[in-house]
């Protein structure tokens, strides 16, 4: 039935085996080996379409192997390996199984050649990942998980709706390039958009990711949104609206990230911002831009994991990830500090770090294709990233005022996980050719030209300067001056105010709406219970005569209808 063995099954089978293996060396080995084996297998897969399965008259393609799916499959395996290594101390079967099944679903979705297979794995990622949130086993985590699950399932249901419509319209369920226009494609677009955390659909990221377990966040942050990026890159390249959506995505999280105190939440916001870059790349849709998107997703998964890992290590040792309560940790956690700085440098796109060689692909192409405003926004957003992720995270966690905390260095396996990730971040930055070779299209791009490096350094240095000055004068964080002094008033002050106002209005309306709706629903359920409940009119055991009466009524109705 299946001619190519789907790599997703490595993970799903491993998840099944883990359920029966006792905790210990074998289980740990399995957790680490599965991604390695799957990764090597994916690397060697011949390109083409396979794994066709018949279901209800539809031909499903379980395996579509091309360069775009391979690079995402590979980085998912890599991220899974690093995440599992980082989580080696966790002895919670539910988390281990959920993590494996989650990665399996994500990889399955990446190789899906049709929308029905995609849908099945799409829902798979939702259902498996929520256990990483519930694994906190607190009341709050339960509710957060529920909200997360509702969003994710909604995305899946919308995807299914779009698929059905598309099938009716075109008779095809191919998961391939589409053009926005019909209701079907808009629904599919929306489904991808929810998972990709488009503006106004993004709240689940900030809501859920910081609520997961320490290790759960590391795993969560790598897959769901990047899967959506892959789906968009596959289906909607060169869709112009994506450029603007992406530009907004890079911008708005900055404001929230700067005022946020919980460092994991800051990272969740910056995740959004980074996704924006990728979405812009998809929207531009040229070969260079799609290369940029794929490369950036690759690099991003690594450095974002690294940052979540280092903050997670801090949280693991100190029990808090609040910027105001941390500080001075470099004295006792020097290695974690170094890794965190590497991650921060990567996300800020310092030359010689991974972010630089990937982000510049997108930036260059935006300029090249004539989207100057978008280019400007992206540049501004890059500076913003440097602020909230590049400087804020390491600064508040490891330097700043001394909090007096003297935690131990992170456990060895965490250090290894972070060390490997940090090494990869630098390796890609220094020698990007192997990564470029994996990209969907041929790359004739040289990241290290004088202009690029100088522009980037200027940007970064001035940001750093601004930060230092502001820190020294005590203005940061409540009042923040930024790189671009002309526009910062609008961006930093008025916009947040307008946003806050808007947010209050919207959340007010929302609260009223939900209050109203929940009252109505409660009333409706009560009415229904009165009529349909066990004692209700509808469900009572009727006297025989009444039953016969119904027969008479239906018979006369049928006769009347027949005779007319």
């Amino acid at each position: 039935m299946i001619d190519v063995f789907p790599p997703a099954f490595f993970f799903l089978i491993a998840a099944g085996i883990v359920a029966f293996l006792p905790q210990g060396i074998f289980r740990s080995a399995l957790l680490l080996l599965t991604p390695i084996v799957a990764g090597l297998y994916i690397y060697d897969l011949p390109h083409g379409v396979g794994g066709e399965v018949e279901l209800a008259g539809l031909t499903l393609e379980m395996m579509r192997v091309d360069k775009l799916s391979v690079i995402f499959g590979l980085v998912f395996c890599l991220a899974s390996f690093l995440g599992n290594l980082y989580a080696l101390h966790v002895k919670d079967s539910i988390q281990q199984i959920a993590a494996l099944a989650y990665v399996g679903s994500a990889i399955g979705a990446v190789f899906a050649g049709d929308l029905v297979t995609l849908f099945i794995y799409w829902e798979g990622t939702a259902i498996t990942s929520v256990f990483l949130i519930w694994a906190r086993r607190t009341e709050g985590a339960y509710h957060t998980g529920m909200r997360y699950l509702i969003m994710q399932i909604a995305s899946g249901v919308i995807l299914l709706g779009g698929t059905v419509l598309l099938y009716r319209e075109t008779g095809s369920i191919a998961f391939d390039k589409m053009t926005l226009g019909s209701l079907a494609t808009w629904l599919i677009f929306l489904a991808f958009g929810i998972k990709c955390a488009f503006p106004l659909l993004h709240n689940w990221v900030q809501d859920a990711y910081p609520a997961a377990t320490i290790t759960g966040t590391v795993i969560l942050s790598s897959f769901t949104t990047k899967l959506a990026v892959y789906a968009l890159a596959r289906s909607f390249p060169s869709t112009e609206i994506l450029i603007y959506i992406g530009a907004v995505m890079t911008l708005f999280p900055i404001f929230f990230a700067v005022i946020e105190n919980d460092l994991r939440r800051v990272l969740a916001y910056s995740l959004n911002n980074q996704l924006g870059f990728m979405v812009v790349g998809i929207g531009i849709g040229t070969e260079l831009a799609l290369n940029g998107t794929a490369a950036h997703a690759f690099a991003h998964i690594l450095y974002k994991s690294l940052l979540f890992m280092s903050v997670g290590a801090v949280l693991f040792r100190t029990g808090t990830a609040k910027g105001s309560e941390l500080g001075g940790l470099y004295k006792t956690m020097p290695l974690t500090m170094i890794f965190c700085v590497v991650g921060a440098a990567s996300i800020s796109a310092f030359p010689l770090f991974s972010g630089f060689v990937t982000k510049s692909l997108i930036l260059s192409d935006a300029a090249h294709e004539g989207y100057y405003i978008v280019w400007g926004i992206l540049l501004f957003a890059s500076a913003g990233v440097f602020h909230h992720s590049g400087i804020k995270i390491p600064y508040f966690a490891f330097f700043a005022h001394d909090s007096g905390l003297r935690p131990k260095e992170a456990p060895t396996h965490m250090l290894f996980a972070m060390g490997i990730t940090a090494f990869l971040c630098i390796a890609i930055g220094v020698y990007p050719d192997p990564l470029y070779a994996l990209l969907p299209y041929d790359v004739n791009y040289v990241p290290y030209t004088t202009t690029h490096v100088i522009t980037q350094l200027q940007l970064l240095m001035f940001s750093a300067l601004a930060f230092t000055v502001l820190m020294r004068t005590g203005i940061y964080p409540p009042e923040l001056r930024s790189v671009n002094l002309d526009t910062d008033v609008i961006y930093r002050r008025f916009l947040p105010r307008i946003i806050t106002k808007l947010r209050n209005i919207i959340s007010g309306m929302w609260l009223f709406g939900t209050w109203f709706a929940s009252r109505k629903v409660a009333k409706l359920v009560k009415t229904l219970h009165n009529s349909h409940g066990p004692e209700g009119r509808m469900a009572r055991v009727w006297p025989t005569g009444a039953m016969v009466l119904w027969i008479a009524i239906i018979l006369s109705a049928t006769l009347i209808v027949n005779f007319i």
């Binding site: 066990p534 025989t544 006769l559």
Partner: protein
């Protein structure tokens, strides 16, 4: 058989349509004559297995669109009685005999637990008669013969339900109610056939179809159609003619509920299909009116009203009974839409729902055996104590909701497809919405089984293997037919073709 001497070329294979019925029919009195409950069970099982094998063989014969026509006593139709097997009824025969064969091993322990030993032989006798009746209703090609077999199955069903009186005396009143209503239904049906006989002078279905072809304006035929639809509708438990069903299912012995839920309404649905699409021409104006103004609204009403009632039920057995009424709604919705896809959906849902409900009611029977109750509040935390039984419930529940990968998904998907094909957007939405109600009542039970702490420290054992294995055969069938749709889809599409074209051949 006597016919063998008249038509010498007949071999045993040609006798299959008759043998499928005759084997259980002869086994039934033997159960009582032997008077031993172990032998009675064995006879029932063997008879059921033989019928199953025969049905399977017949389905293989007709799957390419052929029709088996068996002339009873060698009398040539339309004068003589004809047994006529095409893909449509071979498929239903397979369902009925298959379910019966799987649940009989389960029945042994469950019956021993719920019915006193003296009555066992009588139980298996009635069971076999009911089984014979249902098979006969499906296999026969003679309209009056349908009535005869319907009465055989109904009368034995009343007895079977009344046997639940040992657990709960209300079984007697439910059996009585069903007796009154069932008799009215059967009478209506026979009145309808009488009208058709007056109009055409024949009782053979194929012959009826030919003679009715240009009688669309005949008032007698129209009245006959109304009586048949209502009479069979009552047997099929079309909402609001379902009122006998919840109590009957709730208070009958567990095995009887499993058997009736999985087969009895299905046979009635099949007869409805046969009459609406083979005998009456779907082009008849009055029939279109019936489909649009009676069948469709009642189907939608059933999907919601019955699901809502189910969502509020406190007794799991009654909950599932109402869910059956709702599921019948989906089946007659397919009839109401009257397209090829929708009729395939009806036939597949008939099959899929049969195996799904069989799992679920078998699980309830296991709960009744171990906890002595089917009230949801008494099932706290059984997921830990009876892991296999509860897991089977989850599988069945998922299939009932229609989760992809289970049998229930396939039929609902086809139904939605049919609604979309007819450009009825709102209908497709309603199908999805009503499935959400199924989520409510399935989840409600799963939550109690798995999330709640067990009530007491008394150790509750898993049910014996003889019950677990049948349960899991059906549960795995739910998954198998959700993944591999070749058998069901092919049979259904051939069945639809023979329904639409076969009658007039």
């Amino acid at each position: 058989m006597a016919s063998a001497s008249i038509i010498p070329s007949l071999s045993i294979i040609d006798q299959l349509p008759l043998l499928t019925i005759v084997v259980p029919m002869i086994a039934a009195p033997l159960c009582v004559l032997f008077g031993n409950r172990h032998i009675a069970w064995l006879l029932a099982f063997i008879a059921s297995l033989v019928s199953f094998l025969f049905s399977a063989h017949m389905l293989l014969q007709v799957i390419d669109g052929d029709v088996l026509s068996y002339h009873l006593g060698g009398w040539v139709p339309p004068l003589g009685i004809e047994y006529r097997v095409d893909a449509a009824n071979a498929f239903v025969l397979l369902l009925i005999s298959g379910i019966s064969t799987v649940i009989l091993p389960y029945a042994r322990q469950s019956v021993a637990h719920e019915i006193k030993k003296v009555s066992h032989t009588l139980f298996y006798c009635c069971y076999l008669l009911c089984f014979t009746g249902l098979l006969g209703v499906v296999v026969t090609g003679d309209a009056f013969n349908v009535f005869v077999f319907l009465e055989i199955s109904s009368l034995s069903t009343y007895v079977l339900i009344a046997m639940g009186a040992e657990r709960d005396k209300r079984a007697l009143t439910s059996a009585y109610d069903y007796l009154i209503l069932g008799t009215i239904g059967a009478t209506f049906f026979v009145i309808g056939i009488g009208f058709l006989y007056i109009a055409t002078g024949t009782l053979n279905m194929a012959d009826l179809a030919v003679r009715l072809a240009d009688m669309g304006d005949n008032r007698t035929v129209q009245a006959g159609c109304a009586f048949i639809v209502v009479g069979m509708g009552l047997k099929a438990a079309i909402y609001p003619l379902h009122l006998w069903l919840p109590s009957a299912y709730t208070y009958a012995p567990s095995v009887v509920t499993v058997f009736l839920a999985a087969t009895a309404t299905k046979a009635a649905i099949y007869i409805l299909l046969r009459f609406m699409f083979s005998i009456f021409q779907p082009e008849f104006v009055f029939e279109l009116h019936t489909l649009t103004w009676i069948i469709m609204p009642l189907a939608i009403l059933a999907m919601f009203a019955a699901s809502l009632i189910a969502a509020f039920q406190a007794d799991l057995k009654r909950l599932l009974a109402y869910s059956s009424v709702a599921q019948v709604g989906y089946m007659i919705l397919g009839i109401g839409l009257a397209t090829k896809i929708s009729l395939s959906a009806t036939i597949i849902h008939l099959f899929n729902h049969g195996i799904t409900k069989a799992v679920l009611f078998m699980v309830v029977g296991a709960f009744v055996m171990r906890k002595g109750s089917s009230f949801i509040k008494n099932l706290n935390g059984l997921g830990k104590q009876m892991p296999w039984t509860c897991a089977a419930f989850v599988v069945g529940g998922l299939s009932l909701i229609g989760v992809p990968g289970t049998a229930g998904f396939i039929s609902k998907w086809l139904l939605i497809d049919a609604a979309l094909e007819a450009d009825l957007w709102w209908l497709a939405m309603l199908i999805v919405l009503s499935s959400l109600l199924a989520v409510v009542y399935v989840w409600k039970t799963v939550e109690v089984l798995y999330m709640n702490e067990p009530d007491e420290s008394i150790v509750i054992k898993e049910v014996p293997m003889t019950m677990l294995i049948p349960m899991w055969i059906m549960a795995l069938a739910c998954i198998y037919f959700g993944l591999n749709t070749d058998i069901t889809l092919t049979s259904a599409s051939v069945a639809v073709n023979s329904l639409l074209g076969g009658g007039a051949q």
